[in-house]
Amino acid sequence: MKRIKCECGHVNPEGTVLCEACGKPIEENQHIDGNDKKKLLNMRYDGTARRSQTYNKSIVDKIWSFFSSVKVGVWLIVLALIASAIGSIFPQEQYIPADAASRDPAIFYEERYGIFGLIFYQLGFHNLYSSWWYMILIALIGVSLVICSLDRFVPLFKALRNQKAKRHETFLNRQRLFSETDEVTNEDLESVKQGLKNQRYKLTEEDGHILAEKGRFSRWGPYVNHIGLIIILLAALLRTTPLFYMDEYVWVREGEQVVLPGTDQAYYIENKDFIIENHNPNDERFEEAIAEEGGEVPSNYQTNVAIYQAQEPEVTGAEPELQKIIDSNIRMNQPAKFDGYAVYQSGYQLNEFSSMSFKIHETDDPDEDALGSFTVDLTSPESEYELENGFRVEVTNYYPDYYLDDNGEPASETNYPRNPAFVMMVHPPDGSEPEISFLGIGKNIDATGENDYKVGITNFETHDVSGLSIRKDYSLPYFLVGAIIFMIGVIQGMYWQHRRVWIRPKDNGILLAAHTNKNWHGVTKDIEKSISGTNVNMVKDQQELDE
């Protein structure tokens, strides 16, 4: 390796721009930071030798240089930004509204948004954020984060550790803030030093050369926050495995007990009651707003549940014994939590029919006296009902959620008993020909008009259904740790700055120069305070305004 020996005696690695020890610019390397024609020094990373700027032969070097460029990093961020924006033009697949005529993405996008919707769908933008290319984009940002950080952190850390108080004259006079004072008394110098100390600068002295430094730790902020981001990206990777993340949904009727999906049959849940409450429309505070909303604003969705754990049955194959572990009232923002699982209130269906009772009477009986009656359990209807007095009723068709389809044929919209309807064959006890009846809510149709017997609905019972999400997410702590580290790093880097002031004796006077990585206003004020009452000249801002 070709090392560069500076006139101060320090040996710098190849590619160094400013001597690590004394800061003297290494003239033949100024082009590396694009700084060959500038008066001011480019102080980025303190002019250290960065791998990416030094080696460019092998393919590894080239990849390294590519990803270590901030420009490339910014481009990746901008691409991710544009891609994210595109995905928000139309709803993503999971946000296709429930009231859409068709929720099939192949139909929905074109039907609602026309040609642009069709293109959106065909390009796969309806699942943009889980597409392979979006993932790759985010992964590339991750790679860029790692390489950028390593490329800069290592040399910068070495340079700041090796820095000397004694700096070369050109290093000082080519700083942005610089002044030269011809005559400075010892008292004045002491006063300046004291002034710097009072502002919590750490002073290092070497043969009358002074380095005053504070907030160096803020230089590590970017690297700390990048570590946080990498942890978050790794956590996101973990979360794609079922070991760390599980997401299920289940509908549970009131009174029903079901196994919780995604728990390997280990847990059961019982829906004891579903409660929906509205805000009081007469509440003086909200009267107007509630009236505007049509009189009903929900205040609570709640499912009261009991959760059971299945015990290993003593005989293999036998029903497991259930042991209750918690009773819980699950509400929005208040999930039930147990053994690493969380159950959320996510949906509801009011007034599903649980059972319907019917009676048979003679069609021309004005009193409609019951000749027989039966009850259909709508969650498990039987195909035939034998009545006590010899009638037999055959349920030939059952539509749990009845509607007339496009062809005018009866059909069921869902499998849930929300609007049950039946086609029933009534077999009279005398063995005569069976009669057909069509029955539903508010419908009782005698298709032939010649039926001797009529079936009527006498009673029904309803229940509510709760939609519950079940989640297990062991990746959360990693995300949290990543987020905390990111916040520490970003605060460390943004709310503190690394300020340095150099004083170099020259004849009877001094050279004074300063550098900060951010907040020049702050460091200028520091110097102003430190030199007040002395005849040391205030530093001039030599910034070359925008090129």
Binding site: G114, H279, R285, A483
Partner: protein, 397 residues
């Protein structure tokens, strides 16, 4: 005090704050001719009034909270008002670091426009729906809002920088974009003018239009219908017939009415802009350039950068981390690619890119200032367009 009295009091306090900001702006304008660094009496009075105004608005926030029983950040009016307050707070913080009065001359009017804009939406206290009943509502919303307020100061500094630095002696890309920026701000004023005018006239026209699933709904227009609802019928007699129908591809709740409001905002905004051009007989940017000639560009540049440096961590905390924690509590997923979440991420990406670009040469000064303008546009897009157009879990009103 009963809750309704408290809510009434809170309304008065908000008006008070509004007028104090207005007067403070006037005092900041007196500092223009001043060449010295400290701005003398006018500046001191300006900042004092700003602080009293802020305290008054803070009292509005607290009394409304006490009156309604929940933090007033739950609908568009409350949220935008809070955002206005955050801008003022951001300005006060930056003012005490840099003591630059001209910042107040622009920051306060931006806050005033935001607050006036907010009050054009329904201002009644609304009860909280179940998904909003969480402490995270105010922890998340206030933090994001504060961050956006601070980031807005970077826009204000950038805007002043551009007004100061863009060469107005000839027409260039820069002068055109600067005019577009100013014109966009004036559009908000146009919206406020149109809403207020038709509100005073008590204009009302009812339409009926079909929605999905063979149902029809009624909608009330409070501005004369230039664009009626798609396939809508006018039910009110003796009012203006719509000139055309809202195109069918515009969806969402009340797309027609919102589109019509947008048209009126453009009419009034453009009218106002042209009037100003007529009065000044030059570009607005050129007309206000003399006001800012004493501001030092490098200081403005630094303020713009500093505001992002301060605001970015706060935004990350409120807009991404707190948001994720709440989403996890409420829905069991801390991130769901809802449009609002996506646009929070976009905002974050944007300012991350800004901070990285500041590391390179050539991105200080004017380019930075333009970036600050774009950043503000993204924030406003997320506050307004995402809520009103790209409906999702966050759609209010």
């Amino acid at each position: 005090m009963s809750s309704n009295n408290l809510i009434e009091l809170s309304g008065t306090l908000l008006y008070t704050a509004f007028f104090l900001y207005l007067i403070a702006t006037v005092f900041f304008s007196f500092t223009i001719g001043n060449k010295r660094k400290s701005d003398g009496k006018a500046g001191k009075i300006g900042i004092t009034l700003t602080i009293i105004g802020f305290l008054s608005q803070f009292a509005y926030f607290i009394t409304r909270w006490m009156g309604s029983g929940h933090a007033p950040v739950s609908n568009l009016f409350e949220f935008m008002t809070f955002f206005g307050m955050a801008i003022v707070l951001g300005f006060i913080i930056i003012y005490f670091i840099y003591k630059l009065s001209v910042l107040g001359l622009f920051a306060l009017p931006v806050a005033l426009i935001i607050i006036a804009y907010a009050s054009m939406f329904p201002t009644e206290v609304s009860p909280l729906i179940p998904s909003l009943q969480s402490h995270w509502l105010y922890i998340h919303v206030t933090t994001v809002s504060l961050a956006q307020g601070i980031l807005t100061i970077s826009f204000v500094a950038g805007l002043i920088y551009l007004i100061r630095q863009v060469d107005q002696t000839k027409t260039t890309k820069q002068t055109t974009w600067l005019e577009i920026t100013i014109y966009s701000l004036i559009l908000f004023v146009g919206f406020i003018l149109a809403s207020t005018l038709f509100n005073v006239m008590n204009y009302n026209a009812t339409f009926e239009y079909p929605t999905t699933g063979n149902t029809t709904v009624e909608t009330e227009y409070h501005m004369p219908a230039i664009a009626g609802p798609t396939d809508g019928t006018l039910l009110t007699d003796g009012v203006m017939e719509p000139w055309f129908e809202t195109p069918g591809w515009m969806h969402g709740a009340d797309a027609g009415r919102k589109f019509n409001t947008l048209i009126w905002s453009f009419i009034f905004g453009t009218g106002l802009y042209l009037l100003l051009r007529l009065v000044f007989r030059k570009r607005i940017g050129a007309a206000i350039q003399p006001l800012v000639k004493n501001a030092k560009p490098d200081l403005l540049d630094e303020i713009g950068y500093r505001a992002v440096a301060i605001g970015f961590p706060v935004f990350t905390l409120g807009g991404l981390i707190f948001a994720a924690i709440w989403a996890e509590e409420a829905w069991g997923r801390f991130w769901g690619w809802d449009p609002k979440e996506v646009w929070a991420l976009i905002t974050w990406f944007f300012y991350a890119a800004y901070l990285h670009l500041r590391l390179s040469r050539g991105w200080h000064g004017e380019k930075s200032a333009w970036l600050a303008v774009v950043g503000f546009a993204i924030i406003m897009f997320n506050l307004i367009v995402v809520n009103l157009v790209l409906a999702g879990l966050h759609s209010y009103a």
